[in-house]
Amino acid sequence: MNPGTYFMQGNEACALAAVAAGCRFFAFYPITPAGEIAEKMSQLLPRTRGVYIQMEDEIAAIGSVIGASWTGLKAMTATSGPGFSLMQENIGYAVMTETPCVVVDVMRAGPSTGIVSAPMQGDVLQARRGSHGEYEIIALAPYSAQEMFDLTIRAFNLAEQYRTPVIVLADETVAHMREEVMIPEESSLEIANRKVPSTVEEAAHGFLDPSVAPMPVLGKGFAAHVTGSSHDEFGMRQASEPEAIDRIVRTIHHKIVSHTDQISGTERMMLEDAEVALVAYGSCARTAEYVVKQARKEGIRVGLLRPIGLWPFPARQMKEALNSVKRVIVLENNLGQLFPEIERVVPEGATTSFLPPETLATLHKPDYVLKHVMGEAL
């Protein structure tokens, strides 16, 4: 697509970004509200000699994505809650084997089949801890069609840089919303690519480097050994020593957490002099942004803090941003999934409250939030 500004759907922007980031393998199982990503990918990928494949279920979709990633391709899948649940075991495999890949989860209202095309932010904790075992994940929460583009590119870059699965945790509203999206010049995009070993010796140490080992991709004569079992830095199974799994858990944890500031950004709006801070991400931040503008007209000193990366939770940045506020109101379209993390970074002496929409699976009504802000601000 030519650079320029387009009126575009979030899902469509996500697909364009994936291809621009270098994605050449996309596997999918049909699900609402992620369908448009697949439609667009099926049109775009063959023109780049990239593979679009519809698999027999979401387990196969993420499995084939991981397989393709090990041949050196950038690979992605997209889904929604029910499919995201099915993918969890293999997401854990990707974490364990340090496989770069991108999983777009367009959150819809659940549990179970729920409402397929209503916005809810019910998968925030599943993204963080949905697979079994102890691990860290990266999850980014776009709040606009533009960010569906920008954060998809960022997701690929982080996946490549840290050799890990990255979740784009979108919600139905940002995915289906159409608005202005600026497609930049290809040459202006920053694109990261995984380190690949150049010698067999280098390839042998293919795992468990705290500063990320080069990935011994398949078919290059490295005789790579990739396993979801506990293993050492050579990828060899070490399935009976607790020290081996201890080392894995700590290394893959450290690899992500020690780079939290570089991975998970935040956006601040009118927080400099704010007494009240709204904290919101994804589509909730759209209402929050509007409410801040309205409240400012009434002379209320309110600002917005928006975490862009939810996991690893940007605690240091959040704490710094909320340093001088007196009240914090957290908006989520759930019953408080990120809330405990936010509560922990609220400064001593400030009060914190949680505000879901009046009816879950709808957007917060601005008046409702505004009343809350004014009522409590008075």
């Binding site: 393998f25 596997a27 063959p46 023109r47 000699r49 593979v51 494949i53 698999m55 027999e56 279920d57 387990i59 196969a60 499995g63 084939s64 994505v65 991981i66 397989g67 393709a68 990633s69 090990w70 041949t71 050196g72 391709l73 690979a75 075991e89 293999n90 495999y93 398949l218 078919g219 290059k220 004569g221 490295f222 005789a223 790579a224 050994h225 990739v226 396993t227 979801g228 079992s229 060899m236 199974r237």
Partner: protein
């Protein structure tokens, strides 16, 4: 030292991989050697092979003993992962090592869809008719009436005929042998490796520890003799009644047909798409 001989297949064994986890008398060693002989005879460079292993005893055939790229994945999913590997790099010879439980219980969906797609992945399915690794539980391939650790009163269910299942799903090359029929097994493996499309090789294999002791045959050689005695070739079976075949293992090459292979169809699609956009 001058008289020390090197095994002709040792070049395929990963340096440092000395001990293995198979039980005494397991058929996996025979299948491992058959596979290595097949790639050797077929002249396929080991750098061009990727083994994808599932979870179960069969996964430990390539992982980590073969000095070959190996992706040892989650239970039931090796065919799904292999689909991504083959599509990601169609030049690679992608071989799945899976068991009867891995391929037909938890992973049955991936098996039939890979056969339907005719993707050029070669599946070696080690069928020991039981869950060996986890302690001898009933499998979808366990004969009806058989007692296992989880069917103490006998198995109520009918077993899958895996080869028939794959043929029905569109498999283009399907063969079944037992660990007694090593020469035929090597020949079929070689044939599967030199074909383009999806191949399914079912190998009935002895598990003396969990299966054998339940049927009263704990000696692996005796179990292989039992395979020999109970096996009939597909050619012989065609003249036999269903009743006569009920306790027999039908072996042979069941299907060998050509159909367009999936990665080749993608290559054609890419050509057409690039013509379109020019």
């Amino acid at each position: 030292m001058a008289n020390e001989k090197t095994h002709p297949l040792s070049k395929y064994i990963r340096k440092g991989a000395q001990t293995h986890t198979h039980c005494p008398g397991c058929g996996n060693g025979l299948i491992a050697q058959s596979f290595l002989r097949a790639i050797d005879k077929a002249g396929i460079s080991k750098e061009k092979i990727v083994c994808v292993a599932g979870i179960g005893c069969s996964g430990w055939i390539p992982s980590p003993f073969f000095d070959i790229d190996t992706l040892h994945v989650t239970h039931g999913r090796p065919i799904a992962f292999a689909t991504g590997v083959k599509l990601g790099n169609p030049e690679l010879e992608v071989v799945v090592f899976t068991g009867d439980g891995d391929a037909s219980a938890i992973g049955g969906n991936h098996l039939i869809h890979a056969a339907r797609r005719n993707i050029g992945v070669k599946v070696i399915c080690v069928n020991n008719m039981i869950y060996g690794m986890t302690g001898g539980e009933v499998a979808p391939t366990t004969p009806r009436g058989m007692k296992t650790t989880t069917t103490p009163f006998g198995n109520l269910e009918r077993p899958f005929d895996l080869s028939k299942l794959v043929i029905a799903a569109g498999g283009t090359y399907v063969a079944r042998w037992t660990t007694y029929h090593i020469a035929s097994l090597v020949a079929s493996m070689k044939k599967a490796l030199t074909r383009n499309g999806f191949a399914f090789l079912e190998v009935l294999s002895q598990c003396p520890v969990h299966f054998g002791r339940r049927i009263g045959i704990t000696d692996p050689v005796e179990m292989m003799r039992w395979f020999q005695k109970q096996s009939v070739t597909i050619e012989m079976a065609q003249g036999m009644k269903e009743q006569e075949l009920s306790d027999k293992f039908v072996v042979g090459e069941f299907q060998d047909v050509e159909a367009p292979e999936l990665t080749r169809l993608y290559a054609e699609l890419f050509e057409a798409a690039s013509r379109d956009s020019n």
